[in-house]
């Protein structure tokens, strides 16, 4: 019996197309293709052609593992003649540790958006990201991660002089609460916005004119988190305080009691801890928001724009571009037990994701119709990690002490991200003048492209088995993940061959390619 099971696992685990989740994925891919095709037809739009292998490889790598492919990966993929190589690539990337690390980064940008722009809260992002990474490594599905986040222990240890709580040692998502000032109403709004797509912030002060959410409901949601605010002057919340279920409304004498947004009160006999009660309600399969909001975030991370966009502001004022498709995605996500990989696998193998981003017809320009792939900006991390890969830079491991104290690591990567931070790969991400100057003339990239210091330049210029055409090819593969066109080869080959100083000419080409528009976007 045991032997049979092992044989079964061996046979089928090695054949990913036969796993249960892939059956769902294939069906979902077909649904996506049908829905998008219908909508394109109805709008009289001309779909762009299928992206070539290089475009697909670079896009998928940036989206799933947060960096461009290596030269070896590019060569292997481009030269692979098998017909299912894209599906195999998807499976390989989804199974890699880099996927988990990248997914944790995405979670961090969603859970602690403050940490992206505010150096004061940057350390909270570091700790929350580490916690998520650990959860994902153990195989947590999204509902589990959300449940653990919402019911996290709040054992604040002590206070900083400006009365902010210091986190307990060890991995913990408490940074999420700290980033929201340990205020019940701020935490409540963040939870509603992040997982339900509902903006309650405005309703905290007054009933929102365009929304059906009332001030009372906003405070009733906040009341679930009444226990997250340690009562001063106590250092730790005394036992029992964590189970606070009521909250004073702002500066008034009124009291709000924990109540779900659908108007139902929790059954305190089942769940005495209000946060547990809220978490259970939130991830219930019949919650009309959670699966849709989360599935829409996955879509948005891959297309640069959500079916509902902005992704955290749902309501009659912001309706989905493809409502049925959204329902399909949510249903499949829910049926998979909130496993985002099922969604990702289905979406990246759809026609829409595999289209070129090259604009070939005027009807393709609306980013919300998906007639071509959207060009996305690179996040600071995607940009740095890709530059590091292209130039052969290896960042020193950040000192643990740096992370513990929460300061951005003083490594080149930390400094770069501090300088380029502020976006998370949206389609409208832009770079500033200073960022452009830093890429063109800054010390770090100058060193990485320097003929005597840059690891990649030195190797490409000196290895004996490459001729000049081979050098140009490697430079293209290592930066743009494709081989040069004939025009490009005709431009760079004489430049390299005619150069007195080959290493310097190699460094010039590398500099040009990493500063090119093509390198600086995910297209």
């Amino acid at each position: 019996m045991r032997l049979e099971l092992r044989a079964f696992v061996l046979l089928f685990a090695a054949a990913p197309w036969a796993t249960a989740s892939d059956v769902h994925a294939i069906k979902l891919t077909q649904q996506i293709d049908t829905r998008i095709a219908e909508s394109l037809k109805a709008g009289g739009r001309v779909a762009a052609a299928r992206a070539n292998d290089a475009e697909f490889l670079r896009r998928l790598s940036l989206d799933l593992v947060g960096r461009i492919p290596t030269v070896a990966e590019a060569r292997e993929f481009l030269d692979d003649i098998s017909t299912d190589k894209r599906a195999k690539l998807v499976d390989r990337l989804l199974a890699s540790p880099e996927y988990t690390a990248n997914a944790a980064r995405l979670w961090r940008s969603i859970l602690v958006p403050q940490a992206t722009t505010n150096p004061q809260t940057q350390y909270l992002g570091v700790s929350v990201e580490a916690w998520v990474r650990d959860r994902l490594r153990t195989g947590a599905t999204d509902d589990m991660t959300v449940r653990d986040l919402l019911t996290a222990r709040l054992d604040y240890l002590d206070w900083t002089p400006d009365r902010k709580a210091n986190p307990a040692p060890g991995l913990s998502p408490v940074g999420f609460y700290q980033a929201n000032d340990l205020k019940p109403e701020t935490v409540g709004s963040a939870v509603a916005r992040t997982f339900l797509g509902l903006k309650l912030e405005c309703a905290l002060c007054h009933d929102h004119p365009f929304d059906k959410w009332t001030q009372k409901q906003a405070w009733e949601t906040a009341a679930f988190f009444a226990g997250v605010a340690p009562l001063e002057p106590e250092i730790k919340p005394a036992s029992g305080l964590v189970n606070r279920r009521e909250l004073k409304i702002n500066d008034t004498a009124s009291i709000a009691s924990s109540r779900f947004l659908d108007g139902v009160s929790p059954n305190w006999a089942v769940d005495s801890d209000p946060r547990k009660a809220l978490a259970a309600w939130l991830v219930r399969k019949d919650n009309p928001y959670f699966a849709r909001v989360m599935a829409n975030r996955v879509w948005a991370s891959l297309f640069g724009v959500g079916l509902v966009d902005p992704v955290d502001d749902w309501g009659p004022h912001n309706v989905p571009s493809h409502p049925q498709l959204l329902d399909d995605l949510a249903a499949a996500y829910s049926a998979s037990g909130f496993d985002p990989k099922t969604l990702i696998r289905a979406i990246v193998l759809s026609d829409a994701y595999q289209r070129t981003s090259h604009l070939t017809h005027p009807t393709q320009s609306d980013p919300r119709r998906f007639a071509r792939m959207n060009v996305k900006g690179l996040s600071a991390e995607q940009l740095f990690d890709s530059l590091a890969l292209a130039t052969g830079h290896r960042d020193p491991a950040p000192a643990t002490a740096d992370l513990a104290f929460g300061w951005p690591a003083r490594s080149p990567r930390g400094l770069f991200i501090a300088k380029f931070g502020g976006g998370a790969g949206r389609t409208d991400m832009q770079v500033s003048i200073l960022q452009a100057l830093s890429l063109m003339n800054g010390d770090w990239l100058a060193d990485q492209t320097n003929p005597t210091k840059g690891a990649a330049v030195k190797a490409i210029a000196s290895v004996p088995f490459l001729d000049d055409a081979g050098r140009v090819e490697v430079l293209f593969l290592s930066t743009l993940s494709r081989r040069p066109t004939k025009t490009e080869a005709d431009r760079y080959l004489p430049f390299l061959t005619g150069a007195d100083d080959k290493a310097r000419a190699t460094s010039d080409i590398l500099w040009v390619l990493v500063n090119s528009h093509e390198f600086l976007v995910n297209h």
Partner: protein
Amino acid sequence: MLTRRDWLRLTAAGALGASASGWLPALASTAAHDPKRKRSCILLWMSGGPSQIDTFDPKPGTDTGGPFKAIDTAVPGIRVTELLPTVAGQMKHLTVVRSMATKEGDHGRATYQLRTGYAQQEPLQYPTLGSLVSKELGDPAAELPGFVSIASRRGLNDGGFGAGYLGANYAPLLIGNSDNDPYVPTPTARALAVPDLKPGPGVSLGQAEARLTLLGEQNAGFAEEYASAAVSGVSAAYDRAVRLMKSPARAAFDLDDEPAALRDRYGRNLFGQGCLLARRLVERNVPFIEVFLGRVPGAFGGWDTHAKNFDALKALCGILDPAWGTLMADLTDRGLIDTTAVVWMGEFGRTPRINGGSGRDHYPTAWSVVLGGGGIKGGQVVGKTDKTGGTVEDRPVAGPDLLATVCAAIGVDPTKQHLSNIGRPIRVVEKNAKPIAGVVA
């Protein structure tokens, strides 16, 4: 008649041909007398929240007044602290608002609110005032960016310093904000220089030229073929960066052009030289420049004077007063005062109560800001606090009202709406904000 662009081209050509000394006065007078000259704004930002009682709302002889005397100013009846004699001499150009009444006493959130006019609401990032002004008054074809931020300290809150939903085209060009000790007693040329304008280490000028030529060829057609916000953002940033690298306008950042005596009057420190740089940028039609004054020797918390407030105020005002006073005089001398608004503010004021450590704590309830220069009716005081400075007794002003006033003074319509990156139109300043009555000229 010359178009604005023609004029720019002419001054650029002049800059190439003429010596600096011959060119500068000509530039100043052209700038001042161009009938189509747009207005500029210089924001003097006091990081940490300056004490109003020890600056512009003195309460001598009261429990809360502290040790400093009040002195007369150039405008009879208006008195300020003795720490600001040079600024006092410029009072006919200044309006003191003594009735700021806000609600936020946290550095980060208050900074965000005062600098953007909105409460922080993730994930929508509101643009800071400088980005809004740069969008409204900036010339996309100009060689200098429309918003320059000098010596900014972002430790307290990064939000509220950037272009937010307006995008990186309106982000500030940051100068003198080194991560290392930001206070440079005698700023070298590098302290206020644009970083990375010259080719990186090991790259010759000729090589840089060749690279840029190749880069142009490599990029040819890409922005059209892959037309999108992402590509046009990259393209615009590189275009402006290369323009700045090659432009004679970068000479604006070379303070060695200025007479040593004038540089001395501004003060040989980062803030003083920053104010001088601000004037040079105004001359070159940069619509918004901000200069930060925070941490200085003797006041390492900047204006956040929870302890030893009075010692810190002496140190801070010792730098503030000559720089700001000289700036007003210099703008006047060059005929720029009527088109350049100057705003002095922090994120809140400080308690009238003096704490046990001779300090004053955060106080948003009643505090002061100062508006001056172009578009502002000078020589007056707006609003009033009670005898000890604890409450506003007359004409309370909210943060968005202040921004609406600045907008009106420099000719930006505060009711104009921008489409945010999340597809929702947002007003420059929130709907209920009104310019302070009687302040805009």
